[in-house]
Symmetry: C2
Subunit: 143 residues, 2 copies
């Protein structure tokens, strides 16, 4: 009852000559379950059910899963990297500089910006890869 597409998980790894291991699947499942999954949070999540996992394994597994196009990461600023399942990743991350809250916005809001930057500077931005900083609704209004 994990909801994670196991076949795709296996084929994407095998296509690249990578091995299917229980750790990788547990980590992949945890990423699918968690919201903004930091390596630490993934470790805790997996370790709660089946102890023995190591942080270095989490890092190496995430690297493998990313190479297999199963997950991506986003830079939130000073905070640790967060990982997402690729299919859940079509959103922009907004981090409040004051309270740290992370809000999501649709990638669509950046369509025009992307076109404009492409025209102006010839640079093709990926607005999901790096969060945008600012003030959230409650912090911005003097609360």
């Amino acid at each position: 009852m994990t909801g994670v597409p196991r076949e795709q998980f296996e084929s994407r790894l095998r296509e690249r000559g990578m091995r299917v291991t229980s750790q990788r699947f547990q980590i992949y499942s945890a990423v699918n379950r968690l919201q903004h999954a930091t390596p630490e949070a993934i470790l805790r999540e997996v370790d709660a059910e089946s102890p023995g996992l190591t942080l270095s394994t989490v890092y190496r597994a995430l690297e493998a899963l990313e190479a297999a196009s199963l997950v991506t990461h986003t830079h939130l600023g000073h905070a640790p990297l967060t990982y997402h399942a690729v299919q859940d990743h079509a959103h922009i991350h907004l981090v409040c500089e004051k309270c740290g809250t992370v809000v999501s916005a649709s990638v669509d809001v950046a369509t025009e910006l992307r076109a404009r930057i492409r025209d102006d500077v010839g640079f093709d931005i990926d607005p999901t890869h790096m969060a945008m900083a600012g003030l959230c609704a409650s912090c911005g209004t003097g609360n």
Copy 2:
């Protein structure tokens, strides 16, 4: 022949009860001189002329200068923070994920995005604080 406004430097610090020191002025000057000034680069730059400065002093001075609204920092992703004189800061940083080049764009390109995110999510973004990732002109065209 530094070109750095010394009076403003002094008054902004004094207004906040902070002290004017030679290290702070050297660091502030270096930030004005360098492009994307990392703490390490600032240390090297200042230390070349008058040795003895420490990295921890650089960090603490930058914190002070930032509190005094003389400098700001930008997150470039995995790379160290970069500092800028506030008056030079009105630009967006575009980091190429492939070659690492940092390109600048005018803040104006994000005016509409900012309004849209404010309307949609009530979040007021500061597009200068965090860089945007993507592919630069040469890397994006298959070079």
